[in-house]
Amino acid sequence: MGGVTTLDRPAVLTIVRDRLADILEVEPSSIAEGASFVDDLDADSLALIELVEALEEEVGRTVPGFHIDDEDLQDLKTVRDAVDYVTAKL
């Protein structure tokens, strides 16, 4: 299977958008980078956990052992926060 072998910030943004779109049943293009998970996207806590697990799985394919710390979740309020967080951990 082909796939991403290296991840940069635009690639991470695409992953976050795509996974979030799957979870929220919306179009990826409707998810703005500055969108708030709760206020703009109506994502509940379970949807955010789905996102976290999906990111760990997908990013983990390129970066084995990639993990999002639970205590950091409260700081991830927007799509941008999530993208910056993941990018910084690569």
């Binding site: 929220l24 049943e25 109506d42 509940d44 806590s45 379970l46 956990i49 789905e50 976290v52 697990e53 639970d70």
Partner: protein
């Protein structure tokens, strides 16, 4: 009825009466020809009387935070049971444990049916003398959009058909008046969408219903948001418990009423059985990619047996496939 090809993954650690009553229910299910795999901590379960046990070292408590516990307790009986379904080793997932964690486990491990925005908890509300009314959402989603409720109408209709054999379930929207214009903003919006056919031709929308209609023969499926649905469910449970308690109190008041009770109690037994939540086994989590049953925390062995029967029937009746078709774009 043909045997299930795969066992039901039963969280033997979940519930107020776990593991003893859960194990007893599992033994009865196996005796009835329903294969079951227990999931839990062998040291707590003890003798399984020959039933298979999948070892899981952790237990999510009834008051643990649902999402967090599922994420941090990956070797819990709840998470492992859901994984058995995901991995094709079990046909259904059943727990009487922490409701939120059961839902989170099912959602995170089994996934959602493609197209489903939010899974909903569908609870049968007993209606003595006729088929139960399916109430959804009974607590999975406190905050709902109109689109969620349209899907609840679709999924509830399919479930009432599969579970209770109702060919064309009558679907009502819970509101504070029967007229279309009654209700809060969400109810008005959903009413207008359902009237316009947003749920598709297979949903027989009969308009708004009120709380008093739920335990009547006027409606088969009642759709509402998870906050309201859970309040309704708990209010009904509390009201029925209070009422039953007062009846028995009156029966025991004096010798004369005790004598009357001897005559009346046999006549009341069918009603008691019809209203007993153990009779129905549990609520179905609709929208996840597999059969997942959330049983009452106080489930006894009978409830577990009945829930296993429901799980078997829903697997064999291909409920999930029917739901998949129901929520597919029209």
């Amino acid at each position: 009825m043909a045997e299930l090809p795969l066992p039901i993954a039963l969280d033997v650690m979940g519930g107020d009466n776990a593991p003893s009553q859960i194990l007893d229910g599992a033994r009865q299910a196996v005796a009835a020809g329903i294969p079951v795999t227990l999931v839990g901590r062998s040291a707590d379960v003890g003798d399984t009387f020959g039933l298979d046990l999948f070892e899981a070292s952790q237990v999510i408590a009834m008051d643990d935070d649902p999402a967090k516990s599922v994420r941090t307790m990956k070797d819990s009986s709840l998470v492992r049971a859901a994984e058995l379904v995901r991995d094709g080793k079990a046909s259904a997932f059943l727990s009487a444990g922490n409701t939120g964690a059961t839902m989170a486990s099912a959602l995170l491990r089994m996934g959602r049916i493609k197209g489903v925005s939010r899974p909903a908890i569908a609870t049968p509300i007993p209606v003595p003398g006729c088929t139960p009314t399916v109430l959804l959402d009974a607590g999975a989603n406190a905050e709902c959009t109109a689109d969620f409720l349209i899907q609840f109408a679709q999924m509830g209709s399919v479930y009432a058909c599969h579970r209770f054999g109702i060919a064309h379930p009558r679907v009502g929207l819970l509101s504070i008046g029967e007229e279309d214009g009654k209700g809060n903003a969400l109810a008005k919006e959903v009413n207008a969408m359902l009237r316009a056919g947003a749920a598709g031709p297979n949903v027989l929308f009969i308009g708004n219903v009120e709380g008093r209609d739920i335990m009547s023969n006027d409606v088969d499926v009642v759709v509402t948001d998870g906050f309201t649905g859970n309040v309704v469910l708990k209010t009904l449970e509390g009201g029925m418990k209070f009422f039953a308690g007062k009846i028995f109190e009156a029966f025991l008041a004096n010798e004369e009423t005790k004598a009357a009770a001897k005559v009346l109690l046999p006549a009341l037994m069918p009603l008691t059985e019809a209203l007993d939540p153990n009779t129905y086994g549990g609520a179905m989590l609709l929208g996840v990619d597999g059969v997942a049953i959330i049983s009452h925390g106080s489930s006894n062995a009978t409830a577990v047996l009945n829930a296993c029967k429901v799980a078997r029937d829903m697997v064999q009746g291909e409920l999930v496939q029917a739901l998949r078709l129901a929520v597919a774009p029209q």
